[in-house]
Every structure is written in C-alpha cells, then in structure tokens.
Symmetry: C2
C-alpha cells in the first residue's frame, strides 16, 4: 500500500510539492491544492532570473499559505543564458501578445528543470503529487506550459524513479492550465489570497516596482481588469 | 531546414551535448560520439556529490577529448538529500550486486535533472543531440539508466522546447546502454582513451583514492578484469 493511500485511508492530508515562484499563478495553484486537501511542501528555485526579487515574494507567499516546508534550491542558468530573463538580452515591452512566436523571455527547458527538481524532492519526501501553476490560455506561448508537455513529464517521472519502479504513480497537477487570468484571480479572491504579497514583473524598476509593460505585467493587469478587482500591488 | 541538416549537408561536425561526470562510462560515451562525427560540448554537474573529486576528472577528460566547450553547472541537491551520495547516509560496501532493490547510492531524479539541464543548454546552442553514458547491464539498477526512461525523456524534450515546437527533434544517445562494462573498456582501448584520467569511486579515501568496495569500484574492477587489461588508476 503506498504512503499516499495510507494517508487517504487515515484521512490525513496528502503531502504535495508545489513549485512556488512568488507570482500570482503559483500562489493560486498552491491555495487550490491546499483547499483540495493537500499538505504543501513549497519549492522555490533561484535560477539567476532577472526578477530574483520574486524569491522574496515566494517566502512571503509560503508563509501566508502555511506550508509544511519551504525549500529553496539554486541552479544558476545564467552561464547557459538564451533568455532575456537569464542573459543580457532586453525583456520585450509593450509586445503584441497575439503575435506569433515565443518571446525572448522563454527560458529553455525551465519547467523541465523545475519539475525534475520537484520530482527529486517529492521522491525523498514520499510525496507523489506535484503542483505547478502553468497556464496555457493567458500566457506567453511557452511550450512547457502546455498539457501535452505535462503529460509527457508525468510519464517520464514514473519511469525515472525508484518510487515509480516500486509502483507509485506521480501526478503533476495543473489546476490553472485552462483558466483565464481573470478566473484565476477570481478564484484567488474566493480563497482570500493576498496578492499584494506576489511579484509578477519580469523587468522590475528599482526598488522592485513593476514595469507595467512586460508580458507578465500586461497579463496581470488585464486579468485584474477583467476580474473587476484592483491589483493590490498598484494601490 | 534545421541547423543539424544544414551541418550534415555541409559535412560539418554536428554539435552535441555530452554529460561528462569524470567517470569511465561518460568518457567512453563521449569518445564514441566524437568518433561518430559529433562536435562535443561537455556538461558537468556539481550536485553536492560525496565524490566531487570526479569534477576534476571531468575537466581532465574534457581536455583529453578536445571538446569545443566545457560547461560546469551547480545544483546542490544536498538540501533535499535522500541518497548516500548527497546525504549523511553510509555508502554500501561489498554489496551483493545481484541482490534485489535499488541501493542507497540512487539519487532521486538525478538523470532527469541532468538531462533537463543538458536540454536547456542544447537548445541555446542549437544542438539537438544529447549523449549520456547510461548503462543498463553492468549497473546498480538505477531506474533512470533504462531505455524506457530515456525514450520518455526524449518525447518530453520535444514537447518542452521552442525548438521542438518549431520542428526540431532532440535525440538522446546512449551508446553504452546495452554494453557490458568489459565491452565499454575494450571500446575505450580501441579509441585510445586514457582511463587514468577518470574517477569512479563513490566513497573515495583521502586523498581521493578509490575505496575498492563500493558498487562503482566493484563494477569497474570486474570490467577491467573481464576485458583483460589493467586499470591504470591502480598501477
């Protein structure tokens, strides 16, 4: 009997790993998982991102969520670069979000790397549920936010691990994947989330104020506008 | 037309990423790839391994191979632990290699993490071939050394990346996967590899001498004995 089924039979919360960036999406995904009965173990990755201030937001969000554990790991991707978030490439501003192509803020293999690290920690903790706040609707077209990528990673995870060989089944939960940004925010409001703790901007203006014009700021602003609530960060 | 096909049509060497640990297997896998016409970009990961001395061997091996680039990345897995290579757990010695189960030297999700990092760098370089020296014959039963894991990762890689979306196809090459350790060593001899540069021991005795009794030392010794050549490390 797997640890998960033992926990279920005892009505104990089921442990899950949640990738927590400090942004609005991962906070909401984590809160949805918590509301669904998972006990949260938050994982935040410092990868040399331009907006590393989001790691401080992740700490505040983890505290607000009351996670069991908050683990930070560092894998500095700046030596390989290839993205405006990790190399000396300008972040695009006022971009046409409907334009074809994947913007320079795409970080090669980022979610594969993040999910791999989450998988390693999950196996050590005996957790078989991984939560990630990817979204394939109001997003920048990143390939590693799509359901087909998530399904492929899940299949890989079950073959990659001792736990998988021994019969456990890892599940990658993507509660936001088909939601609009407005619906994500509305769900967060229902869950009484404090979005003033979050950070979304890719290219913050010192001392950490959102630029207002990168994809991430634009998607956030549009989401709050469509949800009909003010963004507490902009108060 | 992909960069790879352009290179092929020009008879240029095709760039590949090779995961280079400093051990005997990854050195041989890299040399086989080089002999097959690939231009090598070596990636070595410091993950907080007990036998971090292997990273120095990786530098020597990269030099001997004449790689185009040698990139080292750090992702310290000690905070998540769960392995005798990354946590305060004793490495098993004089273990029965035929015994059931996966030993404590298994590092959760290690090859998934390593291949993800290789994938990120590959995409940045415009390389679509990744070489890894996994072996599913003379090995410790690690799940992420099996062909089914490699196939699943390859499928994930093609869905994870911008290059994949744009039509490139990543290939993960495992030239050693069905070879015995003796055959790997014989192939290395044909390729005139200098195995004195390598490091295999999981639990080296200061100042870096192989213990002789961990799985890795035992498999190496058996391989050299069956190949009928002396191990230059033990001269």
């Amino acid at each position: 009997m797997s640890d998960r089924r033992i926990a279920e039979s005892r009505n104990e919360p089921i442990p899950a790993i949640v990738l927590l960036s400090g942004g609005l999406d991962s906070y909401t995904a984590a809160a949805i998982a918590k509301a669904g009965g998972f006990a949260l173990n938050a994982l935040t990755i410092f990868y040399g991102q331009r907006h590393a201030t989001e790691v401080e937001s992740a700490r505040a969000v983890a505290k607000a969520l009351g996670v069991l554990r908050h683990q930070e790991l560092t894998v500095d991707l700046r030596p390989i670069g290839g993205s405006s978030l990790t190399a000396e490439i300008d972040v695009p501003h006022d971009r046409d979000l409907a334009a074809a192509g994947i913007p320079s803020t795409y970080v090669p293999a980022r979610n594969t790397i993040f999910l791999s690290l989450a998988l390693g920690w999950a196996e050590v903790l005996g957790a078989f549920d991984i939560v990630i706040g990817v979204n394939a609707l109001d997003y920048s077209g990143y390939p590693d936010c799509r359901p087909e990528f998530i399904a492929a990673f899940e299949a890989t995870a079950n073959l990659a691990t001792r736990a998988g060989v021994e019969g456990a089944r890892f599940h990658v939960h993507t509660p936001l994947i088909t939601m609009s940004k407005a619906d994500i925010i509305k769900r967060g409001m229902e869950l009484k989330l404090d979005y003033s703790l979050t950070h979304s901007c890719y290219d913050p203006v010192p001392p950490g104020r959102p630029c207002g014009t990168c994809d991430s700021c634009v998607l956030r602003a549009r989401g709050f506008a469509q949800a009909g609530v003010p963004d507490p960060l902009l108060r």
